[in-house]
Symmetry: C2
Subunit: 309 residues, 2 copies
């Protein structure tokens, strides 16, 4: 039977001022999914590597499995699928681990059927998978992982996403300290209401970030990458966050913040060499707190998940 | 002595989802200011027409006067100026009346000195004039009146404005019902804090509006022109607002909202004929409530205030 491999990238949700509505994809790391069609119905997770045995092997509990089941049902297929998942993204890291698995699986299965659905049409299936993984069908990781680049999720009723042209000179540093935060814990610390003046600051900044990305105007991007809503609260869950952020900016990053709900820290820079320097500096900073960390430096991924030979 | 006339356009602040950070300029109406340099120091308001005698003639209490005083001081001039102001904008209408007078005055006086300052550099003087007129040095009317087009005021500490390219097919209808709201009253009804979910909706929409304007994507502009923060509260001060808005959309407008703090209603449309039809429909709607109204239909003004022969 036909078999195909696809990769889907890690993503940064929120992007400081874009809490709950914004995300972007990076080149590395990326989850790998290999899908083989089967003549009998049903989706089976055949193997998962790289997860330390922590991910569920039952298809209906696994984001890749759920996404493929939803896809097959939507096109009325009577075939089934076997899934092999090579996790390259750390779990619970705030890098969109669950999203990358479902995005890769969807791009693979769609390809096996000669791409009957567009990337936008695959989104709802990936969102259903997010519901399984995180408890809510949010799109701020799955949309950039599928579409690539910076993606605005304007709203959900109905789903309204807009991809923003990727500026040419933008590099991301992801530093993942080895401590685990649960998304639910990160959400729980947020408040149900916010001061009007903070809200105005935040929407001035997200508008500024979007204008900066689209012009592009790197100075405006830099001035806009501030979060007065989630970061002041969530950063308390990340040891030494203030120093980490200051170190990133001191090394030349445009901005630095919490990736998704953390604990991964993202920084954006206008040169690869700066992004690398920032990575090393942040890793040392975590080391000084006896925390190991992984560093990923890459361009913005403009194409999203992709099929590989 | 040298004399010059300048026009500065009416402006729509807030633009639904851009509360306190966004505004745009229209072609009509526009205030006219004639400035004559004098050999003796001091700024004198020589004449004001069109205000029904309501504007202060003392230069330091008048937005045009304050702006010119600040300009002359900044360039260290030992000359003075005489100002004639022909008000074309209704006062207290939410169309940026005070801003148009100071913007026109600044562009005129700057021209008389061979433009030593850029439009951006004139902004702080116009903001000082706003402080006299409205009690706060906000920029969401003066920035678009000086710069033209759609302008983001990302923040004030320090002032950070970004002009957004004007989409080719965008027309504005302003309908000014003859009832007066004081800006202070309109601000007073707003709450000091807002639900997080409303804030997220609002910043999704302002980001969507900016992306829509810049692409341009008129559908996205339409879907983004919603205000869940100020409009639900302020609209209570405008009789029949819900019907007015529904009538605007029914006649084909992309969106409709309160201009600034009201009572003027703005609508945006992709064709001049639609913008005209919307204007007539809204005027009739107000008429059915025994309210007279003025209607202004025009393109977006992309150049801002300008000197005329």
């Amino acid at each position: 039977m036909k078999s195909i491999k696809a990769l889907a990238p890690a993503t940064v949700a929120n992007v400081s001022c874009g809490f709950d509505i914004f995300g972007f994809a990076v080149e590395a790391p990326a989850d790998e999914v290999i899908i083989t069609l089967t003549s009998t119905p049903g989706v089976v997770i055949k193997q998962i590597t790289g997860d330390g045995g922590r991910l569920p092997l039952h298809a209906s509990s696994n984001t890749a499995g759920v996404a493929v089941e939803a896809f097959l049902e939507s096109i009325g297929s009577e075939q089934g699928a076997e899934i092999v998942l090579h996790k390259k993204l750390p779990l619970g890291s705030g890098m969109g681990s669950s999203a990358a698995s479902s995005a890769a699986a969807l791009v693979a299965i769609n390809h096996l059927y000669d791409n009957p659905l567009s990337r936008e049409q695959l989104l709802p299936f990936a969102m259903e998978a997010e519901r399984i993984a995180c408890g809510s069908a949010h799109a701020d990781n799955v949309a950039p992982s599928l579409l690539g680049g910076f993606v605005l999720i304007r709203g959900y009723a109905p789903l309204d996403v807009a991809k923003i042209p990727t500026p040419p000179n933008l590099y991301c540093t992801l530093v993942h300290p080895h401590l685990e935060l649960k998304t639910e814990d990160s959400r729980r610390v947020l408040k149900a209401s916010i001061p009007m003046k903070d809200a105005i600051t935040q929407w001035g900044n997200i508008a500024g970030l979007v204008v900066g990305l689209m012009k592009p105007d790197y100075g405006l991007i830099m001035r806009s990458l501030h979060d007065v809503v989630a970061e002041p609260i969530r950063s308390a869950l990340i040891p030494g966050f203030e120093n980490i952020k200051a170190e990133s900016l001191r090394n030349g990053a445009l901005g630095c913040g919490i990736s998704g709900s953390g604990p991964t820290i993202f920084s954006l820079s206008t040169e690869y060499s700066i992004a690398e320097r920032v990575g090393k500096a942040l890793q040392q900073q975590f080391e000084s707190m006896k925390l190991k960390s992984d560093v990923f430096v890459s361009k913005i991924n403009d194409a999203g998940a992709r099929v590989v030979a």
